[in-house]
Point group: C2
Chain length 262, copies 2
């Protein structure tokens, strides 16, 4: 399940208004969890359990409470992806029913109407493929720059350190400076490998060094963050509020420098 559609009975131009939710990694938005637990709880609800008090729109907070009824606390990863996808679809639906973009609705409701008109984005690529050489890596990253991206990210940790350094040096030839290139180890390293890698890439002045070790190993992260001159990025594999709190408490990150991806 990568995409969820919530079809409402609000009709506009002869068609029902539909909210869409998306999860980039479908295997973590489990069909079974949605079909067995989350969707039945929503389908069996009375209108007042899902709608705002004046009945004019859906209330995603009420829907979230309903979906989580009888769920145990804890970092149940696939559950949060399942619930989150439905939650996203409901917010999309709420904004469409109010006929404004979601960013505007959220800003109006929760941020005194203030919203950024621009969003910083980057292109993630630079994966390993059998037979892919550094010239092909350069061509790939160039293609992202040609699309207008100013920052690109590549995978590291799949080959020996010296070889990864050559890949990074090849990538640096196609961007203007190290601040336009991030690297992502996808949790591959143990603490010693992660520190050795941090030391090796320090001179390149990269944008960030992502997910050096297991995403829940906060002690490892604290050691790596202390040893790294490159900003550390992490957080995308946390699946509960307590996990995120633990990252802040124990991960040794520098709020002035490091990057949370939650």
């Amino acid at each position: 399940v990568s995409a969820v559609a919530v079809v409402s009975d609000v009709v506009r131009d002869g068609k029902p208004v539909i909210g869409y939710g998306f999860n980039s990694n479908g295997r973590y938005a489990q069909e079974g969890i949605l079909n067995d637990r989350m969707i039945p709880r929503l389908s069996n609800a009375q209108p007042e359990e899902l709608l705002t008090d004046d009945g004019s729109n859906f209330d995603p907070f009420k829907a979230w409470q309903l979906m989580m009824t009888n769920e145990k606390p804890g970092g149940h990863g696939e559950r949060s992806a399942a619930v989150g996808t439905v939650d996203m679809a409901l917010w999309d639906l709420v904004a469409k029913i109010e006929e404004k973009p979601l960013y505007r609705l959220l800003a109006d409701r929760y941020h005194d109407g203030q919203a950024d008109s621009k969003v910083w984005v980057y292109a993630a690529g630079g994966y390993y493929h059998p037979g892919k050489d550094n010239r092909q890596l350069q061509d790939e990253l160039k293609s992202y720059l040609d699309l207008g991206y100013r920052t690109v990210k590549m995978k590291v940790g799949g080959v020996p350190l010296e070889e990864d350094c050559k890949r990074i040096e090849a990538a640096l030839e196609v961007v203007e400076n190290g601040d336009q290139l991030a690297v992502d180890a996808n949790g591959r390293f143990d603490v010693n490998e992660a520190i050795r890698f941090a030391e090796a890439i320090g001179p390149y002045g990269l944008k960030w060094y992502e997910e050096p070790g297991d995403p829940l190993d906060y002690a490892l992260l604290a050691e790596v963050a202390a040893a790294s001159t490159t900003p550390i990025a992490t957080g995308e594999n946390l699946f509960s509020l307590p996990d995120a709190q633990n990252l802040i408490r124990y991960g040794g990150l520098n709020p002035e420098r490091d990057v949370l991806q939650i």
Copy 2:
């Protein structure tokens, strides 16, 4: 999915030898994860990817590696329950093929043949039900003692503190002493409620005080453990090795006193 059966092609007395795995909470051993990811990886394997080097039996370690192929690291709760149920069934199968009890096989392979001949057990009950009074709670706990259990556990945290204390005092009338009664809050309390509860039950001398707050909130746990004279029990809602390591590192538990349930 609460139960998994692994049917082998080993035939004994005209019937295939079958291993069984069980998870007490079926909703966390997701059918979708098993059907979409874990079982196909096992079904598509070559015999040498699943069997010991001499081909005489299954190798659960190889099977676990296969099931976890291309899985991201992290505390993916429902995945670990799904994989664990199959893992349990495979170990049951391995022991049956060797024609010895699993505890004996594990002791022979990994513990110099030493095994405890007895296992400490307790009866978990004492749930809240509408209309259930303290006399009925006593009758329930007595029924466990009549079955031979020496220790019983009851739920707490579902009613105001004073009322829970009366329930605990009623329960203490049917056991010989506080060491035969444990209480379980199922993660219900915030840190202040949890400490207030710890202080209230201190005088009873109970066996343990289980899961006072969110199972991943190690900072809460450390505060409660420091304030409690009753042993703390926790761990059953952790779903990864790093989670368990974090509990040890940050949870403030006393290895001489507290109870890990992992």
